[in-house]
Amino acid sequence: MEQVLFRHNRPGRCVTISEYRAGGGFLPLEKALREMSPDQVQQRVIDSGLRGRGGAGFPTGKKWSFVPRDLPGPRWLICNCDEMEPGTYKDRVLLEANPYLLVEGMILACYALGVEHSFIFIRRGYETAATNLARAIAEARGAGLLGENILASGFSCDIDVHLSAGRYICGEETALMNALEGRRANPRAKPPFPAIKGLWGGATVVNNVESLANIPFIIAEGADRFRSLARIPEASGMKLFCVSGHVRSPGCHELPLGIPLSEIIDDACGGMREGSSFKACLPGGASTPYFTPEHLSVPMDFDAVARAGSRLGTGGVVVFDQNTCMVRATLNLVRFYARESCGWCTPCREGLPYVVRLLEEIEAGRGSLEQVALLQEHVRLLNHAFCALAPGAMGPVDGLLRHFEEEVVEHVIRGRCPFN
């Protein structure tokens, strides 16, 4: 299968810059600087239909277009490599195999946006990826592909790698900007949107690693070709699906968007492991509602998954087999979010521990039907938090109550977990 992001991968090691350039790397950059204007680059990205790969799925080109061309003051591009969504590890795999795609994608994005200084905000635990990126940036600078007057085009930009000192909430774009500025990593209110007033008050665009890494291919091969890679007409491009859980060979695979869930599990990952049958999965990381066997044929694309009642998110597929207690799985997930709350707003700081408590009571067999109803109310009310952490945290709870209500009620009626 044709690969966009993994095409330069070498088995067991990181690709070198010469291998990357030999495979066509940095040619899109040359083409853009010589033949295209920033507006043309931006338009091509818009036409490609590339949607943000960080979880929200917002069209990348459209996000870029929110920065007014005539807005005075410095502009910034931030690559969000603070990959902390449970079940998601695609950015690490990509950067450990090929950091040059991101570097090239970022330079192209800087060119399109008029940015002179950009940042890669990378989580503290990704040491190998950070080392790779630092090396890639130094090599690019040495080759005249980054820094002053890139390829004698008159365009200059630079990239800084910043290691995060914080936790999960730093992955939220406005909290990320606060963290970069050296403040407490609480999210900011929107409006004003980062495209108008972001990092240090200037226009800012925050994109995910995978989104930026797709840009070189789009520039080189064109928007239509990128679109055509997807399995269904309304989708465009490929996606890194990082599968984990009870499958035979979990791993990160680059597959076309719109591929049915069953194909991901059966073809790419060898099916369920011995003795396991598919019970449920998280289609896009821990903050998405569950998919059940009735959703195995759903095309894995942003809109199709949304129509089926969940979210594609980051594409981190976590598969559960028939021996998994869904209440315990949900409890595990919500415990993570309750710990990672930044503490700014009441629903997340106090409401998530309340949900944890309710799930603990139900799992221990001390629950009541009123508590189940209370859980349902929390799914509704936690939408009104300051940022998207709390609503995301309730994704699995929403899935639990929609698809596994009998299991929950069984906990209550039996007075214990049926899977013990």
Partner: protein, 638 residues
Amino acid sequence: MPKLIIDDIAVEAAEGVSVLEAAKSVGITIPHFCWHPALGRAGACRVCAVKLLDGPVKGIQMSCMLPAQEGMVVSTTDPEAVALRRQVIEWLMINHPHDCPVCDEGGECQLQDFTIACGHGTRRFVGPKRTHVNQELGPYISHEMNRCIQCYRCVRFYQEYAGGSDFGVMGSAGKVYYGRFESGQLESPFSGNLVDICPTGVFTDKTARFRARYWDYDMAPSVCPGCSVGCNITPVARYRELLKIVARRNDMVNGWFICDRGRFAPKGVNAPSRPRTSLVDGVKTGREEAMDALLRRLGEVAELYGEGSIAVVGSTRLSQEGATLLPLLAESISAGALSYGLSAAESRASSGAISMLTLENGASIADVENADCIAIYESDLREEGPMLLLAVRQAWRRGAPVLLVGENSPLEQVRGVGIEAVQLHYMEEAPLAIFERPVVIAGMRHGDPRVMAVLDRSGARVACLFPGPNGHGAALLCAEHGGIPLEEALAKGKVKGLVAVEADIPAELLAGVPFVASLDWRETAAVQAASVVIPTAAWVECDGTYVNFEGRAQRFSRVMKPGLPIKELDPACHPPRIHQGDPPGGDILPSWQVMIEMIRLAGEKVPDGPFSGSWANLTSLDPEGEGEVIRGRCRRDS
């Protein structure tokens, strides 16, 4: 001016206000914690939820974060909004301790009020509460972190508004903690405002710990006598004892806050050593007898030493009522010298200031906050007017440069509010002409009086920091009636009889005066040296007027009746078990009433009231209003 509908009421909101403020303007109080009129919005507590039924925005929104827009239809009573507010309170109550009965905030607690307003009742959460260890933040503020609802008001005030850096927020999620990064006393001179802004009992006034409840307080609108800024305050009294001071809002003077000196410094009102009965040569008598004795002795002094041997001295803490009557009293007893207690330097500076100030060129605190350049001339604002530092900081936050002129303007004063300032030697060096709204804050203790001419020409608005709460009023009267500096009045040895009305005179100056009479409520050197003492009412025990630094006359009202605090009556601190009509130690009149009595006893024409003639427009001042600006009256009259 967007027009919107809130709960079926048509509202025309001011430009740029939030839906919460628009609702407040028509009397609808939406429960809130993190929003504060001076600190702005935060969006942290999520209690102010309303439902937008129609208009440019729809659905559940936080009313403090949403600017009011044309055509909005807002419902605060929609069941979804009510359910969300009730749930938010339930979430806050998960960790809130069960200590209302022992918490000082009870009865004046925003959390209590809004919990009832949102309809939360029985606890249904099954689980433990998180607890915290408290810090010792000093002798003034008590810290109880269990009660915190994480509204972030304290850190927003302390760091953003007041520029402090030793206090802040630590931790994340449910472990968020507000405290000092290192143990010790809070450093900001405005830390006391944490007591006012905290919506629960995390920060309470330690000096009034466990004293009384809000519904029992005796309160009245008053003015702080600490300095010439004249911040509006509400003193709180109970059982004839002054318990604490709470800030009162005045948008033209102090905004929403006051400084720690005004809030916590001992006021002397409860001091056991206060003069409470009239004394003649140390023997307790009634007031009538004391006044008779006083006039008689003064007559003897005049006979012995001739005309002009009597001096009448007031002070800048004497209310304007007393200050206007002082020249009349002096005349009635044929005094040769009239003084308002100013030093020679203060006198020169004050008279220069009042000749320079007009209605147009005087700066109020609101002018300081909106300035685009500020120069502080020969002044340490920490001493002469702390609240001006806070106003300077707000201007600095908006980009105004701050210049410190002269060697008596220390850099530390602005460092304490987080400002970087430029230091200059002379007022002429300040480039005020290039700014549109420059303000100069001039100290009155040091500095060259000729600088007043420079300031007059500079086109800047000027704030002159007169000494004392009524320094400006005293200076105006000095000019009107020829008052002289204190040392000039007493140093020559000519004065043989002295009447000190609420005056602070150093003991050395009193040593050479054979007869001293003192009308005061504090035990000053003059009271100790006096042969005749007549007690007067303290500032919380009577109505009065202070004219602040910008010439704003403000009325303060009586908070409590004079009398010995109940604590002083019995060694066991018990109230007495006897019936008594008047409170013991309560036969005390305000100084101006005593002066009118003396004028009558001296046989002179008694004025109708404290304010007569050209001062009559101050007779009916509203204590809850914004005061009346009277600066420049001497320039107008001349």
